[in-house]
């Protein structure tokens, strides 16, 4: 029991690191091997994660629409997603004539690569982080805005009017909603005084920001969830793919594995957004702590930190999925009205509130 409690991801990671450094004399080689291992681990984590999210989305959708969702393949339909993957792999990856072949094939890769990059500074568990860069929050918001390049590239190179329209829409959408996302991230940065992910998590040791920062932080949490739903192009902000209007938007022309990569990117993005919301507002891997109640805090520490992180992340993923299956899609003008007339002014005022609160020390 004691051994089980002391073994954590971080000790495994540092153990592997020391072993590699001691067996391989060349430091560069050891570092490269480490990077490859990290990449493989990431893939081994992400692909099952996307399976789980895909299955979860269908079940949530089914239950919310009074249906069963998938229930034929495997127990409770849990192998449905495997069948779908096999289908996608078997399909021909068509490149349309007239398309810009290089960009067309590059776009899905860019989508996946950008969202893999954003995963780097996310803390999955206590002391378990790929890269604890000191500008973590800035890095996340900078890299995640690169995703729009992938979308525009896909839309532009497809040589298809639907794709182009979808891509242009998503350009306008992501550029506008980034502002609100940034401002709501800033409110936590103001309170923490650091951009580093590990500092942000550690600052919530006496209580998560959403509790300690009360009203202003709750407002910025809500704005963050809304705006980031828009940023990852999920319904009700899925104008970029709007099935009924644009067939499938920017990925109309994609099939087979290239389409699967877009799907993968969509689910990884969903995970990232939820993970960031969980880290900044709900304390990341930090267990539920109340002030200085030592006994209570100590009991909470018995739940592994990775479980806390995944639990919070999946809670937010569920909320974003519920958005998708509850709300009707916005029109383009409504979409921009929501951002420029409501979310942005509110988050600006809210930033001032948070600043005043941080200076006066009105938070707990």
């Amino acid at each position: 029991m004691n051994i089980l409690l002391t073994i954590s991801f971080s000790s495994i990671a540092s153990g592997i690191h020391h072993w590699l450094v001691s067996t391989i004399p060349n430091e560069l080689l050891a570092k490269s091997i480490e990077m490859v291992i990290v990449g493989i681990c990431l893939l081994l984590f992400l692909v099952p994660l996307c399976f789980i999210l895909g299955y979860m989305e269908r079940k949530v959708a089914g239950f919310m629409q009074m249906r069963y969702g998938p229930n034929r393949v495997g127990p409770y339909g849990s192998l449905q997603i495997v069948a779908d993957t096999v289908k996608l792999v078997m399909k021909e990856g068509l490149t349309p004539t007239g398309s810009d072949k290089f960009l067309f094939n590059l776009a899905p890769v860019i989508m996946v690569v950008t969202c893999m990059l954003v995963l780097a500074p996310i803390a999955f568990a206590k002391d378990f982080q790929i890269w604890d860069i000191n500008i973590g929050v800035l890095y996340v918001s900078a890299i995640s805005s690169l995703a729009v390049i992938g979308i525009l590239m896909a839309g532009w190179s497809s040589y298809n009017k639907y794709s182009l329209l979808g891509a242009m829409r998503s350009g306008a959408q992501i550029v506008s909603y980034e502002l609100s996302v940034g401002l709501s991230l800033i409110s936590i940065v103001i309170l923490t005084g650091s951009l580093k992910m590990s500092d942000i998590v550690m600052s919530q040791e006496t209580g998560w920001w959403i509790i300690r920062g009360h009203i202003p932080v709750i407002i910025s949490f809500v704005i963050f969830v809304i705006a980031s739903t828009a940023e990852i192009n999920r319904a009700p902000f899925d104008l970029a793919e709007a099935e009924q209007e644009l067939t499938a938007g920017f990925h109309t022309e994609y099939a087979g594995m290239k389409f699967a990569m877009f799907l993968l990117a969509e689910y990884i993005n969903l995970f990232i957004v939820s993970a960031i919301a969980a880290t900044l507002f709900l304390g990341g891997w930090m267990p539920f702590h109340i002030g200085h109640w030592e006994a209570f805090n100590h009991i909470m520490d018995f739940v592994p930190s990775s479980l806390w992180f995944l639990g919070k992340t999946f809670f937010i993923i569920f909320i974003i999925m519920q958005f998708r299956w509850t709300f009707p899609r916005l029109r383009v003008d409504q979409l921009l009205t929501l951002e420029w007339k409501y979310l942005l002014p509110i988050s600006m005022v809210n930033t001032i509130l948070v600043t005043v609160m941080a200076i006066m020390g009105w938070h707990f």
């Binding site: 919310m64 009074m66 249906r67 069963y68 519920q322 299956w325 509850t326 709300f327 409501y342």
Partner: protein, 159 residues
């Protein structure tokens, strides 16, 4: 003035969104009770169709093999796509006179749109809609049905 209007819009928007989420949240948490899906081939034995459902036109016969059809052909005229074909015959009565009666009631299931017009048109309630729906067959000819059973005759007292 502007500000109150602004905040009222925000309030109304948030409230209606939350109402929506409450509804879907209820469906999600009460899935076992709320799910309306009929798992058809699995629940074939217990499946009951609702009253409104129309599956095919049938002619009910009682235990003496008697039906209520007088052969008036009102249904044939009412049918918009020629689904019904009625072949009549002259039946001798005990008093020596002859009376028009039905010989064959031909019903082409493959043409029927289940519009119910024939049932409404029938003056003597001789036909009705059944709720069967497993109609698929390998040969189109099997869809042509004769609704009056062999040897059946009209019920006493139906004019």
């Amino acid at each position: 003035m502007f500000l109150t209007e602004y905040f009222r819009t925000v309030y109304k928007g948030v409230r209606s969104l939350l109402t929506g989420m409450k509804t879907t949240g209820y469906y999600f948490t009460h899935a076992r009770k709320e799910i309306k899906t009929e798992e058809y081939p699995d629940n074939r034995a217990t499946l009951t169709m609702f009253d409104r459902f129309k599956g095919e036109v049938v002619m009910p016969h009682d235990e003496n093999n008697e039906h209520r059809c007088t052969g008036c052909q009102a249904c044939e005229i009412a049918c918009p796509n020629g689904t019904i074909k009625i072949i009549t015959k002259q039946e001798p009565q005990p008093d020596g006179k002859k009376k028009k009666a039905i010989d064959t009631f031909v019903y082409h299931l493959e043409l029927c749109t289940m519009c119910n017009l024939c049932v409404v048109a029938c003056p003597s309630d001789a036909i009705k809609m059944a709720q069967t729906f497993e109609h698929s067959v390998y040969d189109k000819k099997q869809l042509k049905k004769v609704l009056n059973k062999p040897g059946s005759k009209i019920m006493e007292g139906v004019e």
